[in-house]
């Protein structure tokens, strides 16, 4: 009897859909799940509270003498902080260890993704993997010099273009080497503005190779090694730079070369993109190596015809998380949802196959899939699930297309096994996605005059107040999408243009902020006018979380275009991850801070238990890199912290007042450049 009561109590403790998300299709699907007795992340967030000590960041479980827990008393510490672990580790040491281990994990995730791309790229360059090709030779030629790869060759005194194959092999070899080279520092660091590189040299944080910096974090945070929080953060910074200016950036670039550099395209977003009369296949995870092939397979005449033989009208491919962003940016494949909607996509009852690779994949997907006909297919050797209903089809780039067709076929074959109870929410939005460093440049002036100066000029004249990067995850501890959307709306209302990636970008798409029409509705008059002139949305989708490297390069282009200082930290710009949850977000945050960006996280930071260390991140970093951390859960206050920083930078640049119209005589004109 008592047992039954407990069960009843558990059932009662369910998430309130209206409190869980601001997004109607999510609310509908939570309600449906609850009706069907299927538990989702939203319900678990109600039943399970986060660990209060872990939340403070001061639980050390790095040796078997612990876990040692050093919670900060509620009213803080007056006088000397005497908290110690068994070994004597202070709260600062423990908190910093935990923090840099998060960086290590995040950098590892991005960079391992990058490594897989690099290895496949090299194989493709050599012609070893038939299904991968060099699709964008222009970008290849553009990046080759950064790797020290010549694009021309001298033959008998005549300078000739080197063959694309040769360049690609050389770039591929150099790129793969970045993970483990034995001397020097990462090649891509020289893409940063010179003053920033100088800061890195001064602080001694130039990454040597990607893997080494991550391994060194694991070493330093082992019991009894690095016990100085500043020295730990030095390594944390170095590893994060190896991610942002290394693994991630190389990953993004080589993906562009292989799969095409994104350019703006029209698409849709949200669960409503799934179609009842189509085979619905969802790709979820992060690496585009497989999903690119699935896009090709699902669009092939053969597969479409095959789907028709099974009674479907066609194949609707959609995505979740950053895989969604990768295929959206390059092919216009619509995202079905954010990180927090992954279970809900299956709960529609219309998902015939969900194909996952790495990162951000709920193990609970298998439990949800069990309730429906959905085939859950894991594909990556490093990411399997214990549940027995999960199919593992290990993806091998040597048989990429073959694997993709096999997977798509499973989805098609599964179409007829759908239950009667299908409910796809009707909600979906239009969006423009596919922005990147190159396409923004083009759209700021066309083939002849494309230049970031157009953006800078409108920042200088005050129509655009500043630039914000709003990125990152969803977090079930916050109301789904609320922080993202409230924050972004507040920023654009104050004429701050937003660059977005990851699940933040999907959220912005779902809520209609990625349409050009949204400018007139949500923006301040200045930003609205610029958006109208260029024909862009006020929020620009720059891709997946690995593509945050695009934001670094866009910022570098803005610096180069002139008029806004000499370094990224001079720009009227700020970064944000309002609903962050993953360790990758911490790595991203740190490489943004170390690149000069004021970076505000939402929800909570695991730093409260070590006020001195927290201060170092929130204040001390600015003197070293020009950027620093901050945290603000309230999205409106969060936005205004960013705006205040932007205004501070505008003032420093002397562009805080209205610009006079300068009329020029010949002498003034001759002083103007011609570049």
């Amino acid at each position: 009897m008592a047992e039954v009561t407990t069960k009843v109590e558990k059932v009662v403790k369910l998430a309130d859909p209206m409190e869980a998300s601001i997004e109607p299709s999510t609310q509908e699907m939570i309600r449906r799940a609850q009706k069907m007795g299927i538990e989702t992340v939203f319900d678990r967030a109600v039943t399970m509270k986060p660990c209060a000590i872990g939340l403070q960041g001061i639980c050390c479980k790095n040796c078997a003498m612990g876990p040692c827990r050093l919670p900060l008393p509620k009213d803080g510490i007056q006088g000397e902080d005497t908290r110690k672990g068994l070994c004597g580790a202070t709260a600062n040491t423990i908190c910093a260890r935990n923090f840099v281990r998060m960086i290590a994990a995040g950098a590892a995730a991005h960079s391992d993704h990058g490594r897989n791309v690099a290895i496949t790229f090299l194989a493709a360059a050599r012609g070893d993997v038939a299904d991968y090709k060099i699709k964008d030779p222009i970008k290849l030629i553009q990046i080759a010099p950064y790797f020290g790869v010549a694009t021309t060759v001298e033959e008998n005194g005549v300078v000739k273009d080197r063959s694309i194959k040769e360049i690609a092999i050389a770039v591929g070899e150099k790129a793969v080497n970045e993970w483990g080279k034995t001397s020097g520092t990462l090649d891509y660091l020289k893409r940063a503005p010179q003053p920033l590189q100088d800061k890195w040299i001064e602080q001694g944080v130039l990454p040597r190779n990607v893997d080494r910096e991550i391994v060194e974090i694991m070493h330093r945070t082992h019991m009894g090694v690095d016990q100085d929080f500043k020295n730990l953060m030095k390594q944390g910074t170095r590893a994060s730079l190896a991610d942002g200016w290394g693994g991630s950036m190389i990953g993004t670039d080589l993906q562009d070369v292989m799969f095409g550099t994104p350019s703006p395209l029209q698409a849709e977003a949200n669960l409503g993109v799934m179609k009842e009369d189509h085979v619905n296949i969802i790709v979820h995870g992060h690496e585009p190596l497989l999903s690119e092939m699935i896009v090709a397979a699902s669009q092939s005449q053969e597969m479409v015809e095959y789907a028709k033989t099974k009674g479907a009208k066609g194949i609707q491919l959609s995505g979740i998380c950053c895989t969604a962003n990768e295929v959206l940016q390059r092919h216009g494949v619509p995202p079905a949802g954010t990180f927090l909607q992954q279970e809900l996509a299956i709960i529609t009852g219309a998902c015939d196959a969900m194909v996952v690779d790495v990162q951000c994949i709920f193990q609970n997907l298998a439990n949800v899939a069990k309730c429906f006909h959905t085939k859950l297919i894991t594909t990556h050797p490093i990411a399997k699930m214990e549940q027995d209903n999960v199919i593992h089809i290990e993806f091998d780039e040597h048989h990429a297309m073959e694997d993709a067709i096999r997977i798509v076929k499973i989805g098609i074959d599964n179409f007829q096994k759908r239950g009667a109870d299908v409910m796809i929410p009707r909600h979906k939005s239009s969006q423009i996605a596919g922005f990147g460093v190159e396409s923004i440049k083009y759209h700021l002036g066309g083939s002849f005059r494309g230049d970031y100066f157009t953006l800078n000029d409108n920042i200088i004249n005050g129509r655009i107040r500043g630039i914000a990067g709003v990125v990152g995850c969803n977090n079930a501890r916050t109301k789904h999408n609320e922080e993202h959307i409230t924050l972004i709306k507040e920023l654009i209302k104050n004429d701050v243009i937003v660059l977005t990636t990851g699940c933040s970008a999907i959220a912005a798409g779902i809520h209609g902020l990625l349409t050009p029409e949204s400018a007139a509705v949500f923006c301040g008059p200045g930003l609205a006018e610029v958006c109208e002139t260029v024909g862009i949305p006020p929020v620009l989708h720059l891709g997946s979380c690995v593509d945050n490297s695009r934001i670094l390069l866009a910022a570098t282009e803005v610096v180069k275009a002139g008029g806004l200082g000499n370094d990224i930290c001079d720009l009227p710009a700020a970064g944000s991850a309002p609903e962050w949850m993953s360790e990758k977000a911490i790595s991203i945050g740190q490489y943004f801070v170390a690149s000069g960006v004021y970076t505000v996280f939402g929800y909570h930071m695991p730093l409260e238990g070590a006020p001195v260390f927290k201060d170092y991140l929130y204040k001390g970093m600015e003197a070293m890199y020009g950027g620093m951390w901050d945290c603000e859960p309230d999205p409106i206050k969060h936005a205004h912290k960013m705006i205040a920083h932007i205004d501070k930078k505008r003032k420093a640049l002397g562009i805080d007042k209205a610009r006079d119209r300068v009329l020029m005589d010949m002498a003034d004109r001759q002083a103007l450049g011609m570049e």
Partner: protein
């Protein structure tokens, strides 16, 4: 509402490109593909296409390439909602339209070779009111005004004003601001040019009102002119599109006035112009594009009232214009310099064979004259009947602590253009052969001879404030006073000429640099010595000296000649040191008196270009007014293209016309006696001086030994003639 602009311009792009593709196809069916096409007398092919893409269009077949390029630039049409970004596509569509328009004009000239008159001014009497693409002579003459700032920019007016009166008001306002007014296109069949002719306004390059053509495609000539100026004077290389467009944005301050309804074909042209940084201001209610970026300020401004359009245009383009306000009843400025006073308009005249007209500037002691005192001694215009004549003596006295008698001729030379700047007054000649014609409209406005004095007083103060403290002007109109002044003046002229003629390079220890055009030809540094005047013909040693005195930090700097390294070729240690620095290391030495060994660098503004003719063992020279072929195998424009931009090219040298008969002219290579060919017009102009200098070198009637185009335009054609005439070059030691 930029989306509507983008929508219209992209539609216009498709329309224009498709239309011109059709015209080209038709032409290819009518004519042979190898048929020559092109604009008259230019070395820049179809200049917009050539400058931006490097494509040289010489035949009908060649036109396919830019059309294919234009087609490739056309972006997708703009969707109604959730559209893709359009600024870049809009500008690309504009460029596609511009390329197509240039091809369209080339096809028109092929079909109707006489549609345009290739002269500075139209032939209104015979109904030929459109001048079309300016040739390279006009370009060189006028283009330099854009790059040195004497013409601050141009207004490209398309369409027509509501009536002739408004058209006249707008255009005269631009003239007063010294802008060129480039006119094209019609609004419902009416053009601004026709309106101006109707209103009695003189149109043509000489009044800066250029009637390019009656269609929107003719607006391409404005862009072609701007881009050629950038190549000829700015050293921008063909195909370097980014630099070309930025050069235009930051140097050539032009804008578009759209008068009348803006359809898709105008919209695509306006979008194209934005690539140049040239904004559009319209008198109609079209969607505006106000944010900055591609242009310096706004891109499209609408609903501009006609009486504000000039001021507003100048502001939108970010142009500061310094207008001279002089207290005379007529408008005043360079735009009126080329205006003529024709027979029918003539009220009265002085000089020109009818009466004596003499000008003299003399230095005076400070206490001798009264500043600003202008006196007319004798009858003025009011005392003269319409169609009458008067003798005139213009006597200007200048006092100044820094003033020197050497500056007198320099100041005197200003009188010509300063009087011409007065609207309705024309000045021809100089010294004692001056000729002043006064038009009726000027007299109607209240112009008197005294106003000439007012102008000279004001401008001398304004332009030469460093050396001028006091200016007094006396205008004599009684015969005996004029005769007296003329006698004094002739004495002065004689003394001055002798002083200049006797001046030698050996006699001075200081030369002057001239880097006036260096911002356009970056490695070019002119050095001016008494016996080598500036290659543009505008600056001699004395001018440079005066210019330095007037503006010690200006473009003319003294150079200590230093040790003479080579007296024959003319190499000087001080000069070498100077040019190394001034050319930023690009040039480390050059010779003053040789064109075969390290000759002086040449910019795009040279008056003549000399070239070695190896078979004749001599040299030729060609002036920029001569458009024909020369024995060097190249026309002037081609030579200038090869040489300009600050290169030192052995075998070629740029020089002034006057320099030909100066004592040191290529003396290191044998001197003037090497001259075997020059255009007849140049030869006739300097015939006396050629003979004098020839005689001094021991050859009588030397001018008659120099071949010209009537003898031949190849070395093979002229060599037998030279031998027959016993030309000294034939028997001189080998030139190379």
């Amino acid at each position: 509402m930029s989306r509507l602009v983008a929508f219209a311009a992209i539609q216009g792009g498709y329309k224009v490109v498709a239309q011109v593709e059709g015209e080209l196809e038709k032409a290819l069916q009518t004519y042979d593909a190898s048929t020559k096409i092109g604009f008259p007398n230019t070395a820049y092919y179809l200049p917009v296409i050539y400058s931006l893409t490097g494509i040289k269009c010489e035949t009908l077949e060649d036109l396919k390439k830019p059309m294919k390029f234009a087609r490739g630039l056309l972006p997708p049409h703009i969707k109604g909602s959730n559209h893709l970004p359009y600024l870049g596509p809009l500008l690309d569509a504009g460029m596609a339209g511009i390329f197509a328009y240039e091809v369209k004009e080339a096809l028109r000239i092929l079909r109707e070779p006489d549609f345009y008159v290739d002269t500075e001014d139209p032939d209104i009497e015979s109904g030929k009111i459109w001048v079309g693409p300016a040739n390279d002579i006009i370009l060189r003459k006028r283009g330099v005004e854009f790059v040195d700032g004497s013409a601050p920019g141009f207004a490209a007016i398309v369409g027509a004003a509501p009536n002739a009166e408004i058209a006249k008001m707008i255009v005269e306002d631009y003239q007063k601001k010294n802008l060129y007014i480039f006119c094209a296109a019609n609004h419902n069949g009416k053009t601004v040019i026709e309106q101006l002719i109707e209103a009695g306004v003189q149109v043509g390059w000489n009044t800066r009102i250029v009637p390019f053509g009656p269609d929107i495609s003719s607006a391409i000539f404005a862009l072609g002119f701007a881009n050629r100026a950038a190549m000829a004077f700015g050293g921008v290389q063909p195909g370097d599109y980014r630099r070309m467009l930025m050069y235009n944005k930051n140097r050539i301050f032009a804008f578009v006035n759209a008068l009348g309804d803006v359809g898709t074909e105008w919209a695509v042209a306006a979008a194209g112009c934005v690539n140049w940084g040239f904004p559009t201001l319209a008198d109609t209610d079209i969607p505006e594009i106000l944010p900055t970026g591609i242009c310096t300020y706004e891109h499209v401004v609408a609903n501009v009232p006609h009486n504000e359009i000039c001021q507003k245009s100048v502001e939108v383009r970010g142009l500061k214009i310094n207008i001279t306000q002089i207290d005379i009843p007529c408008s005043f400025g360079p735009a009126f310099e080329g205006e003529r006073v024709r027979g029918g308009d003539l009220y009265g005249q002085m000089g020109g064979g009818k009466t004596q007209c003499t000008e003299l500037v003399k230095m005076a002691e400070m206490n001798e004259i009264e500043d600003g005192k202008v006196t007319v001694v004798g009858p003025d215009l009011k005392d003269m009947k319409e169609g009458g004549t008067l003798p005139l003596g213009i006597f200007v006295q200048i006092a100044g602590r820094e003033f020197q008698t050497d500056f007198e001729p320099i100041m005197e030379r200003q009188i010509h253009h300063l009087i011409n700047y007065i609207q309705g007054v024309m000045h021809i000649g100089q010294r004692d052969i001056a000729w002043v014609r006064i038009g009726k409209p000027a007299v109607e406005k209240g112009f008197t001879l005294k106003d000439i004095g007012v102008v000279l007083h004001a401008k001398f103060h304004q332009d030469f404030k460093k050396i001028v403290d006091k200016v007094q002007v006396t205008l004599f109109t009684k015969q005996e006073d004029v005769d007296k002044l003329t006698a004094t003046a002739r004495g002065e002229y004689r003394t001055r000429d002798e002083r200049v003629d006797k001046m030698t390079d050996e006699a001075v220890d200081t030369f002057y640099s001239c880097s006036l055009c260096q911002s356009f030809a970056p490695s070019h540094v002119c050095t001016v010595s008494p016996e080598r005047t500036g290659l543009c013909g505008a600056y001699n040693w004395m001018d440079c000296k005066a210019s330095f005195e007037i503006n010690p930090t200006g473009p003319n700097q003294p150079i200590k000649k230093g040790k003479v390294l080579d007296p024959v070729l003319g190499r000087f240690e001080g000069v070498d040191e100077f040019i190394k620095g001034a050319s930023k290391g690009a040039i480390d030495t050059y010779n003053f008196y040789s064109m075969c060994q390290a000759p002086m660098t040449t910019c795009g503004c040279c008056e003549c270009i000399a070239a070695v003719l190896p078979a004749c063992n001599g040299i030729m020279t060609v002036g920029r007014d001569y458009t024909g072929e020369t024995p060097s195998g190249m026309k002037f424009t081609t030579l200038a293209g090869v040489m300009g931009g600050g290169a030192s090219s052995p075998g070629f040298v740029g020089h002034s016309k006057f320099n030909i008969t100066q004592g040191k002219f290529i003396l290191g290579d044998g001197g003037l006696l090497r001259m075997v060919w020059m255009p007849k017009v140049v030869k006739d102009e300097i015939r006396d001086r050629l003979n004098a200098r020839g005689a001094a070198m021991g050859v009588q009637n030397f001018a008659d030994m120099i071949a010209d185009e009537t003898i031949g335009i190849t070395e093979d054609e002229i060599l037998p003639w030279l031998k027959e005439k016993g030309h000294p070059a034939v028997s001189m030691p080998p030139i190379m």
